[in-house]
């Protein structure tokens, strides 16, 4: 697709307004733009296995509710709000509710090679560490601001927070994450103590 295509020059909000009027091609364009960011956003929340289904659900729900979309909002903020809610609902659904005391531990066996590889691959990543120390809101705010370049005013809409409280939240998140930087060696690998599974808490 060439860069000079008029569809690429059209803003997300304009495309959303056209889609609201019934233009499926505009919605398709939005889908093309946001498929990967939404997929990554949902995967980052630990929903790796069913992330694609959740992306589909997100876009379907967005399409169904386009008449509610207010063009004063950034479309990305509106879409990520939907994605976040779907992610939270999914996490509630899959969260185990079994009493831990009644469960017998599984027999010790060698882990599957693929699992080992995935764990090893993920182990050196700061976002995984961040997910273990930050709250859901903090993680969402940090992701949207620093990865998706979403302005704070839009994130306040996604999280339903005031700007001041969002700033405080992000300040605290950065303060929690800063010590983690020191845990990576010069090759961006985790130092052994951290890799062994130490949990970081403030």
């Amino acid at each position: 697709m060439s860069r000079s295509s008029p569809e690429l020059l059209t803003s997300d909000e304009e495309l959303a307004c056209r889609a609201r009027e019934g233009c499926v091609a505009s919605f398709e364009q939005l889908l093309r733009r946001f498929q990967t960011p939404v997929l990554q956003f949902l995967r980052r929340r630990g929903l790796t296995l069913d992330a694609e289904d959740l992306v589909q659900e997100t876009f379907l729900r967005a399409f169904q509710n386009l008449h509610r979309y207010d063009s004063r909002w950034a479309f990305s903020a509106w879409l990520f709000t939907i994605a976040r809610r779907i992610g939270i609902n999914q996490q509630r659904r899959v969260r185990p509710t079994v009493d831990v005391a009644t469960v017998t531990p599984p027999p010790a066996s060698a882990p599957e090679p693929l699992d080992t590889m995935v764990v090893a691959e993920q182990r050196g990543r700061i976002w995984d560490l961040a997910a273990s120390v930050l709250t859901e809101e903090q993680l969402t705010a940090m992701w949207l601001h620093y990865v998706e370049d979403m302005p704070l005013s839009d994130i306040t809409l996604v999280l339903g927070r005031t700007r001041a409280s969002l700033k405080i939240m992000m300040f605290r998140a950065r303060r929690k994450l800063l010590p983690l930087l020191g845990e990576f060696d010069e090759n961006n690998r985790l130092r052994p103590a951290i890799a062994a599974g130490e949990v970081f808490h403030e």
């Binding site: 889908l31 990967t36 992306v55 379907l60 169904q64 990543r125 700061i126 620093y146 950065r174």
Partner: protein, 187 residues
């Protein structure tokens, strides 16, 4: 912008977060795109957002109707107000009941006496000097429904002008005396 205020360490953290996110960004999936698009196209007709949209022409027409209705309401309100005003003027000329409270210096605790003046013409009131009216609280010039309003005005005058019983001992003594008298009369 908040990013300018970041310390070196925080900036390093942010760069690291951003870099890692870029490195781990999943590839665009055409199959997922087609799957989602097919699901979108299968949406039921009533859920299609194109249907319930209101046309701009409809909006304009409805606004015209609303403006016309507002003008009619305003005209009716003005006419009603004018007729009320006329009735009020007629009553005032005939002479309206004026409720006032008379303040008696000698009996401050029981100073208020609401007196209804017998139909004094309004013109005479305007000729009275301020000194003449100083002991008098004019509550209201009662227009068409004078009976109810006179009653209300008297109650209001009593409520406003009734002084508090400052000399409590005297007040209590007087009250007990009156009670004794009442008991004695009953006996």
């Amino acid at each position: 912008m908040s990013r300018r205020l970041l310390s070196k360490g925080e900036q390093r953290l942010v760069d690291r977060l951003r870099q890692e996110a870029i490195e781990t960004r999943p590839a665009y999936s055409e199959s997922l795109h087609k799957r989602i698009l097919a699901a979108v196209r299968q949406q039921p007709r009533e859920k299609n957002p194109a249907a319930p949209r209101r046309q701009p022409a409809d909006t304009r027409r409805s606004m015209q109707w609303m403006a016309a209705a507002a003008v009619c309401l305003a005209i009716v309100a003005v006419l009603q107000w004018q007729s009320d005003q006329r009735a009020t003027d007629q009553n005032a000329k005939r002479g309206v009941a004026i409720a006032y409270a008379h303040f008696d210096d000698e009996l401050p605790r029981r100073a208020v006496t609401a007196v209804l003046l017998p139909c004094t013409p309004v013109d005479e009131w305007s000729e009275k000097s301020v000194n003449e009216l100083s002991n008098m609280a004019v509550i209201e010039a009662i227009a068409p429904h004078s009976a109810k309003l006179q009653h209300d005005a008297r109650l209001a005058a009593e409520a406003v002008l009734m002084p508090l019983p400052i000399d409590l001992d005297m007040f209590v003594a007087q009250e007990s005396c009156s009670m004794d008298l009442a008991v004695a009369s009953e006996r």
